[in-house]
């Protein structure tokens, strides 16, 4: 699965957060499906030439968030139970980060809550015309 995950070690975003974000995104998109196996910590560390403790930290957080589960000696897998909810939660998570960033920007530019709401409603209409 080396092609599914990539990281940019030179970015200011912690590598373990990059891995978490990408696994969640892959689950949300269905690139990684319920029950599918992830590379082992060692394999991913070697594939990406990054520190194995950093990969392990990402996997621990993904387990805590119930996105993956680890069977000792067998490896890590995308969770089977409640996969639907997890996929939705993962997607919501990714979207929340993007919305947060947009709102921070809007607020720092001096827009009011009403301004932002109006802008947001327009964008919603454009992206979800069928649900108006």
């Amino acid at each position: 699965m080396p092609a599914v995950l990539t990281v940019d070690p030179g970015s200011g975003v912690p590598i373990y957060l990059q891995i978490i974000e990408q696994v969640k995104r892959s689950v949300a998109l269905g690139v990684l499906q319920s029950g599918e196996q992830l590379p082992t910590v060692k394999q991913l560390a070697l594939d990406l030439t990054i520190n194995p403790n950093t990969v392990a930290r990402a996997y621990r957080d993904l387990e805590r968030d119930q996105i993956i589960e680890t069977a000792p000696g067998r490896g890590s897998f995308v969770r089977k139970n409640g996969a639907e909810a997890n996929v939705r939660a993962a997607a919501t998570d990714v979207a929340r980060g993007a919305v947060d960033g947009a709102l921070r920007e809007a607020k720092s530019l001096g827009l009011t809550r009403a301004d932002v709401r109006a802008t947001f409603d327009l964008a919603l209409d454009r992206w979800f015309p069928e649900e108006r």
Binding site: P9, G10, S11, G12, V13, P14, I15, Y16, L17, V41, K42, A45, L46, T49, I50, N51, P52, N53, T54, R57, R104, E105, K107, S108, L109, G110
Partner: protein, 304 residues
């Protein structure tokens, strides 16, 4: 358990202090990157750690025990400068290591030399600087050591071979071994290391987990259109390590609580408040630079 524990290490050359009361804990199974400007004391620290130089004060313990002949089997060292014999062939060095170290695996050494495209029949005299580095790296990683101490293990190597060395380091960590290495190429440390220390004038001025440093340290930037605005509320915040003011733009280096500081900046009257991530090079730069230096991160944010 710490694989390496350096306590209050000091080394003076005459009146100049090379290592100044340095203490570092290196947990077992970590890859620890040592960064620092030239002359910061990295090589001296390594030499004192290995008993190649006598420290003026302090101690170094490996898994709780001081350096002893029995410990040498567990520690492999790649020095900054070649210690290979000019007149010997590479194969003779392999044989010498096989005789000296019980766990040395000649077949691993042969594999690594092949990977670095080095002909073992060649004499060291005929090798370039980078090839000598590759030979020393190959010998060290064939040792089956528990601790590897590598002083600039990629110097003189081309990018492909540099990546090979990083792969070897990652592989050691995945096997539970401990690696301490120095490099001027911060991008390599950023990849392979989970923990770092920045050395400056013999002191550790910054230590921590790379990902935690990146998560915590941010630039908070804001615009104060009224140049007379009192910003002392934010600039005296204990989480603010540095304040740069360029015309109406104020940039704060925060060591934690970036969101909080951003909010108080807005409350103090700033507009356009935003957070900028810092990579390891930025973090290093801020750690070793005086507060009035022009920073890469600051220049970059103006360009954006």
């Amino acid at each position: 358990m710490n694989a390496i524990e350096i306590s209050h290490l000091s080394k003076r050359y005459g009146s100049s202090v090379a290592v100044d009361d340095l203490s570092l804990q290196i947990p077992s199974g970590t890859v620890f990157g040592l960064l620092g400007p030239n002359g910061a004391g990295k090589t001296t620290t390594f030499r004192c750690m290995l008993g190649l130089m006598r420290a003026n004060a302090g101690s170094v313990e490996y898994s709780g025990r001081p350096l002893a002949p029995s410990t040498f089997e567990d520690i492999a060292y790649v020095p900054e400068r070649s210690v290979l014999y000019e007149w010997m062939t590479v194969a003779q060095h392999v044989e010498m290591n096989r005789r000296a170290f019980a766990r040395f695996d000649p077949s691993v050494a042969a594999q690594l030399l092949t990977r670095f495209s080095i002909d073992p029949r060649k004499r060291v005299r005929a090798l370039s600087k980078g090839m000598r580095t590759a030979v020393m790296v190959s010998l060290a990683f064939a040792r089956n050591a528990k601790v590897l101490i590598l002083d600039e293990p990629t110097s003189g190597l081309d990018p492909v071979n540099q990546r090979h060395v990083l792969g070897l380091i990652v592989n050691e960590a995945a096997r539970g071994n401990t690696v301490l290495f120095s490099s001027h190429q911060i991008g390599q440390v950023e990849r392979a290391a989970d923990r770092i220390a920045v050395l400056d004038r013999g002191r550790a001025i910054l230590t921590g987990q790379v990902d935690d440093l990146k998560a915590d340290r941010k630039i908070v930037e804001g615009v104060f259109l009224d140049g007379a605005t009192d910003i002392s509320v934010v600039s005296t915040d204990p989480r603010v390590a540095r304040v740069d003011r360029v015309d109406r733009i104020v940039r704060l280096l925060v060591t934690s609580g970036a969101d909080d500081v951003a909010q108080s900046m807005t409350a103090a009257g700033a507009t356009g408040v935003r957070l900028l991530d810092l990579n390891l090079e930025d973090i290093f730069f801020y750690a070793v630079s005086p507060a009035d230096a022009t920073s890469d991160a600051a220049t970059r944010s103006i360009a954006q």
